[in-house]
């Protein structure tokens, strides 16, 4: 297992190098280039030339890349043009919000999606199955932002159950935030009201964000369980007189889990990009909203660092998924 893990971690190196090259090139391909982003609208050609020189944009691309990598390795991502604060600090401050949101969304997606897909498979062709199939299709098709406004309309404006925006009630400005994870902060500071408030602010954006992974997880679970349930070893187990719960737990679920875990991993990574829209619609202070605002403001140090950061998280989540294969299926370790 250790060798398997080491091999997977080593594989990260070329992936991360490729990633850094992509992000580096992406920012330089922005319309007008970084110099326009920095100088704003009325820059004279002389000023543009000055800035190009200052930032080394007039140097050969490979030289620019080397200095870019050097600054990334020293965690110096520059200063945000809009907030005038170090980008690394700005991202670190907003990261807990995004983690809180994506973890909640994934919890919803897994705890609803896996049982739903399982039931649909075991009751293949029934109304539950048809409903879950149609529901997943809808979940994948509906744009996250449209769903966000809709959820707010129903659950906040009409029913009044949840707030429409933010991570915390505006009036709770005396709450303390030692960790930045607001639900956790409420608990550790002995302020249950704050924890509940933070949870209430999480539910709607998490639901909006959860729809797409929920739909995928439901469909994959259904397909995977259907496939495994038809395998010879399941029939043999049944023939041997094993009880249904034991067959389900030991033979069906465990074997069906591999593709489900893959989808969960991929979707967790994708949630980070989904957070860009969701956080904007819900005015939820996380990396997604920060990145969206940076794109509008052409805050290129933030765009560059934000994309790299999200991509690295995506790669790391998928590394964890890879490692979990080894735990779930011993055959993977020896391959």
């Amino acid at each position: 297992m250790l060798r398997f893990a080491a091999r997977r971690v080593l594989l990260l190196v070329p992936i991360l190098i490729g990633l850094s090259i992509l992000v580096f090139l992406f920012v330089r391909a922005l319309p007008g280039g970084p110099e326009t982003a920095l100088l704003g609208e009325n820059a004279t050609p002389e000023r543009v030339a000055q800035v190009r020189e200052l930032y080394g944009l007039d140097r050969p691309v490979y030289e620019q890349y080397v200095s870019y990598v050097q600054s990334v390795l020293s965690l110096d991502f520059g200063t945000s043009i809009t907030t005038r604060q170090p980008v690394a600090e700005e991202i670190a401050r907003r990261f807990p919000g995004t983690v809180e949101l994506t973890v909640t969304a994934m919890l919803i997606a897994v705890t609803v999606g896996v049982p739903l897909g399982f039931i649909a498979a075991r009751r293949y062709g029934s109304w539950v199955d048809n409903l879950s199939t149609a529901g997943s299709l809808l979940g994948i098709a509906i744009p996250v932002f449209a769903l966000g406004y809709l959820l707010k309309y129903v659950f906040a404006l009409k029913l009044g159950w949840f707030p429409t925006q933010g991570r915390e009630d505006s009036l709770m400005f005396r709450n303390e935030h030692p960790t930045g994870f607001y639900v956790l902060d409420g608990i550790v500071t002995g302020n249950p009201e704050a924890a509940v408030d933070a949870l209430r602010h999480l539910i709607l954006p998490a639901l909006a964000l959860a729809t797409i992974p929920l739909a995928f997880i439901t469909r994959i679970t259904r397909a995977s369980v259907l496939e495994v349930a038809g395998e010879d070893y399941v029939r043999t187990a049944e023939a041997k007189g094993m009880t249904r719960p034991v067959i389900t737990r030991r033979h069906i679920l465990r074997n069906a889990m591999l593709p489900i875990v893959t989808v969960v991993g991929l979707q967790t990574g994708l949630l980070l990009s989904g957070a860009v829209l969701t956080e904007t619609v819900f005015a939820f202070d996380g990396i997604g909203r920060f990145l969206a605002q940076a794109v509008f403001a052409r805050d290129f140090p933030v765009i560059q660092a934000g994309i790299l950061f999200l991509a690295v998280i995506f790669v790391l989540v998928n590394l964890l998924v890879d490692l979990s294969y080894g735990l779930l299926d011993p055959r993977v370790r020896t391959r």
Binding site: T36, R84, Y149, K158, F162, Q165, D197
Partner: protein
């Protein structure tokens, strides 16, 4: 089967958790239509939906609307504008007087004023602030950091950029506790209205020093505010003091007990950053905020119908069709007049602009002094346009008409739609139009600013209440975009800038506006007025053309 049941229980449990969490706080504020929001203000707290966080609470370093809005509540300036207008009235100074040369200004300061940190406001504090701005160095001199100082005072004690002009500010002397004498290097009529800008707020010298207000590093393009001042600390003399600032979350300000003026009616003001327009509207409808700025015109009717108050901010911008008078056939005055008569400006403003927008007759808004009611107006008249073309002697006039892409401005929400309407108008009058479009930045602005565009769409939003900030910016100096501006117009504008007698200035600018519209270096066509929205029970908010708006005047009706 038992297993299935267990899964079902899990799903039900989750649903229960959702409803349970909702129930935990959903009942704390319910408005008339049954909707609720726990943030709901009222009584002692007002939550306002801002479109972004302030960049800094040190107004000397900012030029964006949200930072200035926040600064207005915490700080005060020597002079300010009357509520809802542009006339200069008392601020921290109760009287002011310029000497005959217009270079020595004596300000008599309000007595008994203290900063939020308890220190005394006096003439020394005033001079400390002016000297601080004047002595900005390095990155502080970047236009993105000290934009307004450079707009009003041009240069610094020691300019980092040798091409930067000499500073208008020379010195400040505190002759006694309540008298500050400011020396200028030349007379300037925009000095006084400029001082009403939030950028010239007087901050506590003690706090500025203690919390590192001058610690700015980085580069001109990427300045970095390292000090705690502006982010954690902000100390002025205003009706509200900073309680806490959590970027991305909220800015909280509470009433300052020892405020010299009338105590604010609302104890706590919270600015909540909600960048997304529809999200701001939903937050208002849920009762989580009680007002927001920059309402989407598409929402006007629905919001009004639902009982919200829409407040119009007096127009302080102008949209115009610029004409490069150096480019044939646009150098021919009759051709320019024909263009002006051909454009159906009323129809465009009605079709493309929100209610409350006005058709412009000159290059500055009617709210400003110096606006002339009797400029030459070019009413929509196709036949007259055709006749003028015939008289001009230019056969089959062809004009290149430029419009930008990828941009939206309050005075030009959809440039392409404006272009299409005007193109059709010009063609109807007999012009042959060659369309030219370019991305707003840098291509379009470059083409216009270097004189490459003949006819083009552009506009301007004013910084402060002075005609020099409009027509002075446009025509006081030679600019390739306009082609040739007659010397007498430039001289008049220069005279207006240095004249200190307001009545004389008014006359001068009225005359200049007439001369400009006679010369016709462009056809101004619109002034728009953005709107704010407030809950029904919010009273006393006065929108200002120059966005000098104080929450201290706001209250809740019973």
């Amino acid at each position: 089967m038992r297993n299935l049941r267990r899964q079902g229980v899990v799903a039900l449990g989750l649903a229960g958790l959702l409803v349970g969490t909702a129930a935990c706080g959903g009942d704390s504020g319910t408005n008339d239509d049954g909707a609720s929001g726990s943030d709901e203000g009222g009584g002692d707290t007002l939550v306002f939906g801002a479109s972004a966080d302030p960049v800094s609470l040190d107004p000397a370093y900012v030029s964006d609307g949200e930072s200035l809005r926040a600064a207005r509540q915490i700080y005060e300036t020597l002079v300010t504008t009357e509520a809802g207008g542009t006339d200069i009235v008392e601020g921290l100074a109760t009287e002011w007087e310029a000497d005959e040369a217009g270079t020595e200004w004596t300000f008599t300061l309000r007595d008994g004023v203290t900063f939020h940190d308890g220190t005394e406001f006096n003439a020394e504090a005033v001079c400390f602030n002016f000297d601080r701005w004047y002595n900005f160095e390095g990155v502080q001199q970047s236009p993105s950091v000290s934009y307004y100082w450079q707009t009003v005072f041009t240069g610094f004690a020691t300019n980092e950029d040798p091409e930067q002009g000499e500073s208008l500010y020379a010195s400040c002397e505190a002759t006694d506790a309540t008298t500050a004498v400011i020396e200028l290097t030349a007379p300037s009529a925009s000095f006084l209205p400029g001082l009403a800008l939030a950028a010239f707020s007087i901050a506590s010298p003690t706090a500025l020093e203690e919390f590192g207000a001058d610690e700015v590093t980085g580069t001109g393009e990427e300045p970095r505010f390292d000090g705690a001042y502006g982010l954690e600390e902000a100390v002025g003399t205003g009706p509200y003091m900073l309680e806490s600032f959590e970027p991305g979350n909220r800015l909280v300000m509470t009433a300052y007990e020892d405020y010299w003026g009338d105590a604010p009616a609302i104890e706590t003001i919270i600015f909540r950053p909600i960048a997304d327009g529809p999200a701001r509207r939903q937050a208002l409808e849920a009762g989580e905020i009680q007002g927001y700025d920059l309402v989407d015109p598409a929402d006007y009717e629905a919001l009004e119908g639902a009982g919200y108050q829409l407040l119009s901010r007096p127009a302080f911008n102008v949209g115009y069709v610029g004409i490069n008078t150096a480019k044939p056939p646009l150098d021919n005055p009759q051709i320019r007049q024909a263009i002006a008569h051909a454009l159906n400006r009323e129809a465009l403003v009605q079709a493309q602009y929100p209610e409350g927008s006005e058709v412009a007759t000159q290059f500055m808004p009617p709210e400003l002094f110096g606006y002339a009611d009797d400029v030459t107006e070019y009413e929509y008249d196709v036949e007259k346009a055709k006749a003028l073309i015939a008289e001009s002697g230019v056969a089959n006039p062809t004009i290149e008409f430029w419009y930008p892409t990828g941009v939206s401005r309050p005075y030009m929400p959809n440039p392409e739609a404006n272009f299409q309407a005007f193109q059709a108008d010009l063609q109807a009058a007999g012009f042959t139009v060659t369309p030219q479009s370019a991305p707003w930045n840098p291509d379009y602005l470059d083409a216009v600013n270097t004189g490459g565009a003949g006819l083009y769409l552009l506009g301007w939003t004013g910084d402060f209440g002075d005609p020099d900030n409009f027509i002075g910016t446009f025509f006081r100096t030679d600019q390739p975009s306009w082609g040739t501006i007659p010397q007498e117009i430039q001289d008049q504008l220069e005279a207006g800038r240095t004249e200190t007698d307001e009545a004389a200035r008014t006359t001068l600018y009225e005359e200049t506006n007439r001369a400009i519209m006679e010369q016709l270096p462009g056809v101004p066509y619109v002034h728009t007025s953005p709107r704010l929205v407030f809950a029904e029970n919010v009273e006393g908010y006065e929108p200002s053309p120059v966005s000098i708006e104080e929450f201290a005047r706001v209250s809740f009706s019973d």
